[in-house]
């Protein structure tokens, strides 16, 4: 335990991990601050920011804030640069792979996804969908409220889903990948020592195998029809059931609007449904893997989901 905690402290104090700890602190602070403002705004008749619409001159009121901020930021950077050296390890050696081999910290969320999904999904499709989904947000959000002030009540679905995606699926996975993933990308609690020879049973199975004898490949090497059928049905069924849940329960209840789906229209609603449901496959797969040891929902010779 002592050794493990010493290892954890060493991790936390690594020069390259210091910004991540800082980011964690800032994210927690800003989440708390914005939610506090949101709750206060929701209680009032008009948001607090609406009382501040008179104009002030940029010189000096804005530029002095900018000047002071620049001075403070450069001061922090200077002290930081004098105090902590950037890492420079041994010269590049293609013949020796360090264990663990981690991507830069902002990609650790994606590297974590590699545990649960194949590289083409985790490394290509998901980043592309994240980017496309982010760009689609302003065009599918037809709620005119909440434009220019903090709120919770008026934008429950939007803020709730974004908080989940940003805090859990992005920031938390970065922290997990930095501090709790060790050699072989195995999971280590903070008090555990990083053991490069940790033995972890690899007894995962595919989702259809939970329902009976439906392996991905038959004994003679051919594709198992039952496996493909159950896998496909499960994926289609997930999207259908999820769509019904979204349409009938989640959206109307969170937006307090019975006709929200009709107002969105088929194109906007279809976009929202696709991105939300595809995004939720990540935590669902993680839970399936951790609880039922499920590796693939559907396994074919060409692609695995």
């Amino acid at each position: 335990m002592q050794e493990g905690l010493k290892n954890f402290w060493h991790l936390v104090s690594l020069p390259d991990n210091v910004p991540i700890i800082g980011m964690l602190g800032l994210v927690i602070f800003y989440t708390w601050q914005s939610m506090r403002k949101a709750i206060r705004n929701d209680r009032l008749a008009a948001p607090i920011e609406a009382s501040m619409t008179d104009r002030v001159q940029v010189w000096p009121y804005l530029v002095r804030i900018e000047f002071l901020t620049s001075v403070v930021v450069i001061l922090i950077l200077t002290v930081w640069s004098v105090g902590i050296d950037a890492p420079l390890e041994e010269p590049a050696n293609p013949g020796r792979t360090p264990n663990p081999s981690k991507a830069p910290w902002y990609f650790l969320g994606l590297q974590e996804m590699l545990v649960y999904f194949d590289p083409w999904l985790a490394g290509i499709v998901f980043p592309f969908l994240i980017q496309a989904g982010l760009m689609a947000i302003p065009y599918v959000d037809i709620n005119p409220k909440g434009n220019g002030y903090y709120t919770w009540k008026e934008r429950r679905f939007a803020i709730g889903f974004f908080l989940f995606g940003f805090l859990i699926l992005w920031v938390f996975l970065i922290v997990l990948g930095t501090l709790l993933r060790g050699p072989g990308w195995n999971f280590f609690f903070p008090w555990e020592e990083w053991d490069a020879h940790k033995v972890v049973a690899a007894n995962s199975r595919d989702w259809p195998e939970l329902f009976g004898k439906f392996p991905a490949k038959n004994v003679d090497g051919s594709m198992n029809i039952g496996h493909v059928a159950i896998g496909l049905l499960s994926i289609v069924g997930y999207y259908v059931a999820g769509d019904i849940l979204l349409r009938k329960v989640v959206l109307p209840r969170t937006t307090k609007d019975k006709d929200i789906v009709k107002k969105l229209g088929p194109l906007r609603y279809g976009t929202v449904s696709f991105f939300v449901l595809t995004c939720m496959t990540m935590p669902i797969k993680i839970i399936l893997r951790l609880t039922l040891d499920v590796k693939y929902v559907l396994s074919t010779p060409w692609i695995n989901f």
Binding site: L77, E90, G146
Partner: protein
């Protein structure tokens, strides 16, 4: 309003006056200062506006902003801090370029020299790395704040799209720079990151359907003919990768980022500045994007000219000029319209005096006709 344009030239004629002014006056009214700054140093509304408008860097800002735009608790300032960090990384990066050579023989040793031999080398390199990490963090916090305040809603949708692309560019800049130290951390992190590229569907040799696609077009199915090969300049992270990433990191990506930053700031101004709750009368127009945009022409010159004129000619003079111009306008319009304007003026005056409505409307009419005749007489003189 023609009188307003004739603002006398404030620049002093250069003459030897035997030092009758004190030192501060000589400095602020001297040729050097006035040639650089083009307005004087007194603190008044006009000069405060001119400080912004006359400065090529500062005129990114409007001359006035609403009060919530300077509320750091609302904006968090993360956008501005990100820009500052971009500039810091650019400047420190350029300084590092004096010593760093992007080849596999020299890269690591140049880094060692920077950290140990070059004066302030470690300081500049550290600042570059910490500013870069902080920039990625601040970009994410900026996106977080913009989302929580709904500042992507009309008319700012496209600016959000630009912002997402800036986020991806920031990550790409950080990724390409990560390789340059050429140590174990760098090469293996980039190997892990770029290994994703071999799993691209169709175009990566380990991706789904790549062999079939390769048979079709001759590209995508082999380690030396797929998208990862293009990215790395080879089948592994090697010397070509280093050079490639160096050019991307120092030239191409910063230029693209700067261009998108320009569009990003341009759109902030065009869409009405920092977002805020709609003003009372705009509640009705909250879904009409065109009504929320700010027209610069309506706001900038008029305010500056009016303030400038008031400053130089005095408030009283300004009122007289306005009255004179309005009178000229009245004469030039038709009789009916002038009568209407006069009637409104007199009614307003009555209201101000105390609401004395003993005069009938007909009386007003007769009075205004007389008034008009006088004006028509005056017309002959013009």
């Amino acid at each position: 309003m023609s009188d307003i344009i004739k603002v006398p030239n404030k620049r002093q004629v250069v003459k030897a006056d035997g030092g009758k002014k004190d030192l501060a006056q000589q400095f602020y009214e001297g040729q050097i200062y006035t040639s650089i700054f083009r307005h004087d140093y007194k603190d008044n509304k006009r000069n405060r506006a001119l400080q912004i408008v006359n400065n090529v860097f500062l005129h990114l800002h409007p001359t006035r902003v609403s009060r919530h735009a300077i509320d750091v608790g609302y904006t968090w300032g993360m956008g501005g801090i990100t820009l500052l960090l971009f500039i810091v990384t650019a400047v420190t990066g350029i300084l590092l370029m004096f010593y760093y050579r992007p080849t596999s023989e020299y890269a690591y040793n140049d880094m060692k020299q920077l950290m140990h031999d070059v004066p302030f080398g470690a300081f500049i390199r550290n600042m570059h790395r910490w500013a870069a990490h902080s920039m990625v963090i601040c970009v994410m916090l900026h996106m977080y704040r913009v989302f929580l305040t709904g500042s992507y809603k009309p008319p700012r949708e496209f600016n959000w799209v630009i912002g997402v692309n800036l986020l991806v560019l920031t990550l790409a800049l950080s990724f390409t720079g990560y390789l340059l130290p050429w140590d174990q951390l760098a090469i293996w992190a980039i190997t892990v990151g770029s290994n994703m590229a071999r799993a691209v569907p169709f175009l990566g040799h380990a991706g789904p359907f790549a062999p079939e696609f390769h048979q079709l077009v001759g590209f995508g199915g082999a380690p030396d003919a797929d998208v990862r090969f293009i990215l790395l300049g080879g089948t592994e992270v090697g010397a070509p990768t280093l050079l490639r990433f160096y050019v991307l990191h120092t030239v191409f990506l910063p230029i693209v980022t700067a261009v998108l930053l320009a569009v990003h700031f341009w759109r902030i101004r065009k869409d009405g500045g920092i977002s805020g709750p709609p003003m009372i009368e705009f509640h009705k127009a909250v879904t009409d994007a065109s009504k929320l945009k700010v027209s610069v022409v309506d706001h900038l010159p008029k305010y500056e000219y009016v303030e400038g004129f008031k400053q130089t000619e005095g408030e009283q003079n300004f009122k007289e000029v306005v009255k004179k111009d309005l009178d000229t306008l009245k004469q030039k319009t038709s009789t009916k319209l002038s009568n209407l304007i006069n009637a409104i003026d007199q009614a307003a005056e009555q209201n101000i005096k105390g609401g004395d409505d003993s005069h009938s409307h007909d009386d007003h009419h007769d009075n205004s006709n007389d008034h008009n005749k006088n004006h028509n007489n005056n017309n002959d003189h013009h």
